[in-house]
Symmetry: C2
Subunit: 397 residues, 2 copies
């Protein structure tokens, strides 16, 4: 280990079920470079607080266990560095002679990285800032999809397939509130394991489509009258036509994170509110609402093997790219041109400017806003991401 | 098939992840008896509405798929037959020449079966009423445990192990509201995959222990001050010292089923209320609450192989017992005498009177009410039930 090869890894934002696969991908690959590999504990926060851990000595079997674990193994943060914070970060990284800083995170984390990277020029420290994407929301621009999405999508798809059987047994209306602030990809994934024509979810409400309560009730009424049941997937981020979150009306106490985002998860008022509307206005007695919550990103029994492998590979690939690129960048997954072809991905380089702080939403070809549902093309896009290890099922009724 | 061998199967109450294993256990075994096997669609409701399905022709591969599926494959019901309803049922069963009626369900279903069975004497129709237990609540008396519990317990245990990693990443207070009206077994199962000393859940609140909000806040404060985080498992059935449900205070619109039970699941007001109390009174900013809801009983990715096998075997065994007993009964799992011994179960006969409508709660040896936690003995009791197919995990921090 030479001091020229000091590298730093951190993890930021909400963890996913495979964020540690990217971590161990980087560690295993940087070990080959004989780098001295530091981990910053709790994202950029650990840099400021001088809270580092040397990662070289973790054994391969332990690394594998870490890769299989949800949560961010190095800890995470919601801190968003401002100019002053960034100067402090750079001062510490310079003193530790860090040449590469790998930050595994979503679009907020890539934004932090962009700010730091821009400061290096005036700070006269040669530092490569390397972004490795993760987010269950799948909302990173310039990426076909994002590591972490496939496993969360698998949880949501499997849950709705289970709910299908449950609601067949005891009919009624079931509402499942799915994570996703601006992008409806995860909510749309509720459709992925529908097999029969009358399988739910029968209706899907996305943040991309302005939400109107009257239309919502009308569609549910129609479906319920047809089949005596209705399963509905609703994004926690549904908004009215003025882009105002519906959940802001239903929750008394709003909470904001340091990126200025309203905290959506961890409260269930949206589901309860919508269930009450259905009971009162449609006079349907059996209405149940679940807010799917944190299991979507950390339930250990629904990891997609495809997602897991890609998260590992993108970590390794970031290390390869760091040698050829010599500058800061965001590692990406190339957009598939033809969704009919056999599933295969390639990695690419995006500039931090292209990715940072931007949000991708569902393209309109992926949904049918009038029917309150997703398109077949979305299913072609997303089905390969959840992998093939799905329990096979059947029913009598 | 002779008309003497007409048998009927139905499923009642809230479904579990393995209720169909018992169904196919009965079907496979009754096929050997050359019985004509009818299924009643939607529990006792299907009898009244003459909604039967002949089950003999379902192929073995399809039966296996049905066994692997959540929900009640024959449909379920919350109907509770009164005297008049029972006479109608018996009239129809007599006309169909049904000699055995297998009803797979919880203590409410066994109560329905007891009422029907008691009517046979005055109705002059020879009918064996056979109860096969299922419930995720594990609250059936005279049973070591109940098929369905192990898989729900596995979901809850796995979820809390995932939450552990998630909260390690982004510390705060996490509340998980677990199903269970009177019995805390399922909530207690949240403890089963704790490995390290500081692993959560750090506190567990059961319906068996009178709930006091001041004590609840005091215990959370202490834990949070010690570790900067606190993971809490709370039963939806927690009650004050007057046996009044806490959720009755937090939910505006109460709903009752036909057994007179308050509907607890499908609303998340309890978790939201408790989270608000913590934020306000303890001034902790990051507090999240999930109401675990229906995934506990129907998520397809967390079935316990032990539970699955036992549910199948108890169905088969009910058929065997029906031949030796010649009278109505409830099939049961014998209480283990010594929890230190290698896990092994045996089946037994209970009378319907002994089981019907009664509720088992956690014995006091299974918890420490002062510490807000469960005992090691509970873990010895419950750990074998969730099986061994649990993902292995590790972390750095």
């Amino acid at each position: 280990m030479t001091s020229n090869n000091n590298i730093l890894i951190a993890q930021g934002g909400g963890p996913t079920n495979v964020i540690n696969q990217s971590l161990i991908g980087i560690i295993q690959e940087e070990k080959k470079n004989k780098s001295k590999i530091f981990g910053s504990i709790n994202g950029v926060n650990g840099i400021i607080n001088n809270n580092f851990k040397l990662l070289n000595k973790i054994s391969l079997p332990t690394l594998k266990l870490i890769g299989n674990s949800p949560g961010a193994a190095l800890g995470s943060t919601r801190d968003k560095p401002d100019q002053k914070y960034c100067l402090e970060i750079l001062d510490i990284l310079k003193r530790k002679n860090i040449s590469k800083f790998y930050y595994i995170g979503g679009n907020d984390s890539s934004d932090s990285l962009k700010i730091i990277s821009n400061q290096t020029k005036i700070f006269k420290h040669k530092l490569q800032c390397i972004h490795i994407p993760k987010t269950i929301d799948n909302d990173l621009v310039k990426n076909d999809h994002t590591p972490g999405f496939g496993s969360a999508a698998k949880y949501v798809a499997m849950l709705f397939s289970g709910i299908n059987f449950d609601v067949k047994s005891l009919p009624g209306v079931y509402l499942g509130i799915v994570m996703g602030r601006h992008a409806g990809f995860l909510t749309a994934a509720s459709s992925l394991l529908r097999k029969k024509k009358d399988d739910g979810p029968h209706l899907i409400f996305l943040p991309e489509i302005p939400f109107e309560i009257d239309n919502f009730l009308k569609l549910i009424k129609k479906e319920y009258e047809k089949n005596g049941k209705c399963i509905v997937a609703i994004s926690e981020g549904i908004q009215d036509k003025h882009k105002k979150l519906i959940s802001e009306r239903t929750s008394k106490n709003q909470e904001f994170d340091s990126h200025g985002n309203v905290q959506l998860s961890g409260s269930s008022s949206l589901g309860d509110f919508l269930a009450e509307q259905i009971k009162k206005k449609l006079k349907i007695s059996r209405v149940r609402a679940d807010t799917l919550g944190y299991p979507q990103r950390c339930f250990p029994g629904s990891v997609s093997e495809v997602d897991q492998d890609e998260a590992f590979q993108i970590g390794r690939t970031a290390v390869h790219f760091s040698k050829t690129e010599k500058k800061s960048f965001s590692t990406g997954i190339s957009e598939r041109k033809n969704l009919e072809k056999i599933y295969k991905i390639t990695f690419k380089i995006n500039s931090l400017e292209d990715v940072a702080g931007k949000t991708k939403t569902m393209p309109s070809k992926f949904y049918d806003s009038k029917a309150g549902n997703v398109s077949k093309l979305f299913q072609k896009y997303a089905l390969p991401l959840i992998g093939k290890k799905i329990p096979k099922t059947s029913s009598i009724i």
